[in-house]
């Protein structure tokens, strides 16, 4: 990608402009995410870089973890501020988010993996149509899904219940599992299944001893996708969850709408760290999966 030595000055200018442009775009993509991290450690209740934070040498007075303490429900006198209410809502939301996310992930991963196995078989009838139906929750805009589900679940008394929210999240998360596991199964050597069966293994045993270890990285990636889908989902919980099913996104939404406070940035920082962790895991799993399936590392 380097510039050839015979490049003309005009080409040089273009090339450096191109590199500069790309840098700006990368900055545009990533800067907002990292700008919020220092602000979350500010002592001020306003979401800005205060003068103390920018001063040199750094002013320790300007930095604090008070908003983090507020977030975990510590309402001591030095934590609360007149504009920032203090409550255990964030912690309650965290518990609910993990609860809903975990159950939704388990169901979505099981159903999604089974379906992906079926879809990858050469004998699958109406493959295109079925795939389109299974993927549709990912494609239909969330607001439409939320409206439809709200009407329908209201009829069967599932609105404002954990069951309703979990069912909705499973529906939204399965496409990610199906896509990821199907991608892992591409190039899967079906002869191994035949070999296992010819040696006398029953279907269940074949699955757990032969197929599963090979596609496990794909399944875990799919499960992580499913989890983050449920964990970050806000539109459905906005309509289908009551205060009992308060989740992190619902609380953040309420926070941004009403009492915009630095506590939101603390939670946002935690979520950025979570996504860095998940991204790294998925990337490592992808490499492992390619190695397992004998695809040369790119």
């Amino acid at each position: 990608m380097a510039l050839p030595s015979y490049a003309t000055p005009v080409q040089r200018t273009y090339y450096y402009f191109y590199l500069f442009f790309c840098t700006v775009v990368f900055f545009f993509l990533i800067a907002p995410l990292f700008a919020i991290i220092p602000i979350s450690f500010s002592v001020s209740p306003f979401m800005v870089f205060t003068e103390g934070m920018l001063a040199w040498p750094p002013d320790p007075e300007a930095w604090s973890i008070r908003w983090y303490r507020n977030m975990i429900g510590d309402c001591s006198a030095d934590v609360v501020s007149s504009t920032v209410p203090c409550s255990t809502k964030w912690m309650k939301g965290t518990v609910n988010s993990f609860y809903i996310g975990t159950i939704a992930t388990v169901i979505a991963t099981t159903l999604g993996t089974l379906a992906a196995l079926g879809l990858s078989r050469p004998h699958m009838p109406y493959k295109g149509l079925i795939m389109a139906i299974l993927i549709s929750p990912m494609i239909v805009p969330l607001i439409i899904t939320a409206a439809g589900m709200f009407f329908f679940y209201a009829r069967i008394n599932l609105v404002y219940t954990f069951t309703g929210v979990i069912l909705a999240h499973v529906a939204l998360a399965t496409p990610f599992v199906v896509i990821t596991v199907t991608a892992t199964l591409v190039g899967f050597d079906m002869n191994m299944v035949k070999a296992a069966q010819s040696l006398g293994a029953k279907p269940m045993r074949t699955f757990f001893k032969v197929i599963m270890p090979l596609i496990l990285p794909g399944i875990i990636s799919g499960a992580l996708f499913a989890f983050i889908t449920s964990f970050d989902e806000v539109v459905i919980v906005m309509f289908m969850a009551s205060i009992d099913q308060l989740t992190i996104p619902k609380q953040m939404w309420a926070g941004i709408r009403q009492e915009i406070s630095p506590v939101i940035l603390c939670m946002a920082t935690c979520l950025v760290l979570l996504s860095i962790f998940l991204l790294t895991t998925v990337e490592l799993l992808r490499r492992r999966s390619e190695k397992l399936r004998g695809i040369k590392a790119r």
């Binding site: 191109y18 993509l29 995410l33 379906a115 078989r121 439409i144 439809g148 589900m149 941004i256 946002a268």
Partner: protein, 425 residues
């Protein structure tokens, strides 16, 4: 020498014809594959497809009001508007009894529906019902129901109220769809434009398209060079830079939206830097959020990965030798790019463009939070009617139209890229 070809069918060891046996095995395999998919298919059908279908039915459903006033509507249909100014006596009589004996909650629901057709119905019926109940209590039977109604309120002699029944007398109604397009029915049942101050949907639809097109173009302009760079760098660098694209992709939408509010607000990071640099004065801070500009900036950043990833996967496989060959044959770099490289990236451009566009028209969270008053898209209206006005018919109709538009674009996407080619990360 004579070769004898056996015309007898090939048999398996069990004595069954081979063809039949194979067909049976094939059928069994198909069934097995289907059984694996079946649980999820059933699940998605019940938890997702049925709700969407329910919403579509609701967008044309008008049966509730018909169950409240069945006899009145029956008689109403017999009214010849050409000859009589007001509906016949029978209509008034049936309405009298249906209001007197009807279930209060059901009537309340029907009133809301009637108010969509003509404002003023709600108070009129409420007042009238109160009077009717008094009459019934006294036990006297009015001589003329028509006169009684008109005595209670003179609006009952106003035919425009009666005309508005026109759009309610059938179990199905297209009124919500027309409402969603700023239209309504006039007294003859013809489609006309809404009052000036009630026209807001066409404006929002147009804005939704405008914002989506702008976001798509911005994403293309920003995404193309980046995808090109990623595709042409050695892998160890491009994998590293890919994190810049994938991390936003993995981060919560709300986090990214919050981040943009922090960046763009009047005392936010960008304004702060500009003031510090002396480009703008302290009281000349630019309003960049809670308007259309905020929606555009935030949505471009949020949807950019969806443009870069398909472009990248297409550019990755374009042989580098093509550009060299073109230049070798005498093409200037610009010509070589325009005539040789760009045409090969068309599949990526169309895939990324369609994906970004389709995602953008259905966006709700970001425009709602950073859009302010003039940056909201159609999704905000759907949420508003779902949660605030409870006009679910209109909500469903808006959703159905949006869904229809999406399906057209996905059909295109499927033609060009193939739905099952969607890849993540």
């Amino acid at each position: 020498m004579e070769v004898i070809i056996s015309t007898a069918e090939l048999l398996t060891t069990d004595g069954i014809p081979l063809k039949q046996s194979l067909r049976k095995a094939e059928r069994r395999n198909k069934l097995r594959a289907f059984l694996l998919v079946f649980p999820l298919l059933l699940f998605i059908f019940v938890t997702f497809v049925m709700p969407i279908g329910d919403m579509l039915l609701r967008s044309v459903d008008d049966s509730q009001i018909n169950s409240v006033f069945p006899n009145t509507f029956e008689e109403y249909k017999k009214w010849d508007k050409g000859t009589d100014e007001l509906p016949p006596e029978e209509v008034y009589k049936n309405l009298f009894f249906e209001l007197a004996n009807g279930d209060k909650r059901q009537i309340g629901k029907a009133l809301t529906r009637m108010n969509y057709a003509k404002s003023g119905w709600k108070s009129l019926i409420k007042k009238t019902t109160r009077e009717i109940k008094k009459i019934v209590k006294k036990g006297e039977e009015p001589k003329s129901y028509k006169e009684t109604f008109i005595k209670i309120n003179k609006f009952w002699a106003d035919p425009t109220y009666w005309y508005s029944f026109n759009q309610m007398v059938n179990d199905q109604s297209s009124i919500y769809y027309w409402n969603a397009l700023d239209r309504t029915f006039d007294e003859d049942g013809d489609v006309v434009l809404q009052d000036e101050k009630r026209r807001m949907y066409i404006k929002t639809w147009l804005r939704t398209f405008k914002v989506s097109i702008y976001v798509t173009i911005f994403c293309l302009i920003l995404g193309f060079p980046v995808a090109h760079l990623l595709a042409n760098l050695p892998l160890r660098y491009s994998n590293l830079l890919m994190i810049f694209v994938l991390l936003p992709f993995w981060t919560s939408l709300l986090v990214r939206t919050t981040a943009w509010i922090v960046m763009l607000q009047q005392n936010g990071v960008i304004n702060g830097i500009l003031v510090w640099l002396g480009i703008i004065s302290d009281d000349g801070r630019i309003q960049m959020v809670y308007n259309e500009a905020g929606t555009l900036i935030a949505m471009t950043q949020i949807l950019l990965p969806f443009m870069i990833l398909p472009l990248y996967s297409v550019m990755r496989v374009i042989p580098k030798s093509h550009m060299r060959a073109a230049q070798n044959l005498g093409a200037k770099p610009a010509t070589a790019f325009w005539r040789v490289y760009l045409p090969q990236t068309i599949p990526g451009i169309s895939a990324g463009g369609l994906l970004v566009f389709v995602l953008a028209i259905g966006y709700f969270i970001t425009p709602e939070l950073v859009g302010g008053k003039d940056g909201k898209l159609i999704g905000s209206w759907i949420a508003y009617h779902l949660k605030t006005t409870l006009n679910w018919g209109l909500c469903a109709a808006l959703g159905a139209i949006l869904l229809g538009i999406m399906l057209i674009f996905y059909w295109l996407y499927n033609k060009i890229v193939g739905i099952d080619n969607i890849k993540l990360g």
